[in-house]
């Protein structure tokens, strides 16, 4: 198989064999880390949503059961997700409603 190309100062040239080997090793490592990466993305989103409601834990705020349930569901969001496909389905984003349709519903 032909080597990948790279662009050096605007000129396209093929990778050396050593560069090609390094690139292939990187591709394998990337593929092997797919589930960890997807879970990391999911956790980032989840953590952001938890952070949005952290103020409810202040002593002068009473958190309703609905909010407690919502926050617990967020904390549990990675449970049972043991494949890339499952994580991606959990993170599914609806571009029309701008929401993640499989995330816990925020209480109104």
């Amino acid at each position: 198989m032909a080597n990948y190309n790279k662009m050096v100062d605007g000129k396209i040239i093929p990778l050396t064999d050593a560069e090609q080997t390094a690139r292939e090793a990187k591709e394998k490592a990337w593929a092997d880390g797919a589930l960890d990466r997807e879970l990391s993305s999911l956790r980032k989103m989840r953590n952001n949503m938890l952070a949005e409601t952290d103020y409810m834990g202040l002593t002068d705020v009473t958190m309703t059961d609905a909010w407690k349930t919502y926050r617990q569901e967020l904390r549990d969001i990675t449970k049972g997700l043991d494949s890339v496909e499952k994580v991606q389905e959990k993170m599914k984003f609806d571009t029309e409603t701008k929401t993640r349709v499989n995330f816990p519903t925020k209480p109104s």
Binding site: K6, M7, D9, G10, I12, E27, W30, A31, N48, F93
Partner: protein, 196 residues
Amino acid sequence: MALTKVQAGGINLADTFAFTGTVSGAGGLVKIYTQSGTSAVSSIDITDTYINSTYDTYYIVGNCLPSSDGVGLELKLKDSAGIISGNTHSLDMQMGSLGELSDGQDHCRLNYSTIGNSQGEGTQFSFYLQHVNSTTIPCAVIAFGKTAHTGAQPEGFYVVSGLTVDQRDKAVKGFNLAMSSGNIASNNLTIYGIVK
């Protein structure tokens, strides 16, 4: 008599003048290189042809669209021997209220979440390279940009990055941009030198 001073009203501002001289003694941005590519490449390398001792601070504006969906754009600095390898790059990144901190990895990152590969997605970035020639201060990368990841979701980020402190003896002679996986489908890049 040679003209030594332009008098008020002595030049027709409605005219077009082709400037061919060299400005000296003034600060500012000097455009030194631009490229645009639509052929897929595994990386973009800029050498010391453009990043060298001429300037100590460079400003780079670019855009990269990955061939693969859901990847990251990695920036690696180079010295005279090539890419500065190992855990030599640090990173402090922010996206909204989220952040990441790392003081030892082999690249800086020019995105927060992953980057989508549909037309109009990709990552649009700019970054400063500071203290390029210093051998006592580690080269810094101050970057910010906008990405769109899968499903056209926009994301803004800024990152303070660069070489780790123990790499401060390395003068930077270029950089390398590559996706964490797959090719760069298309790109454009412009490099400016900043006159002191």
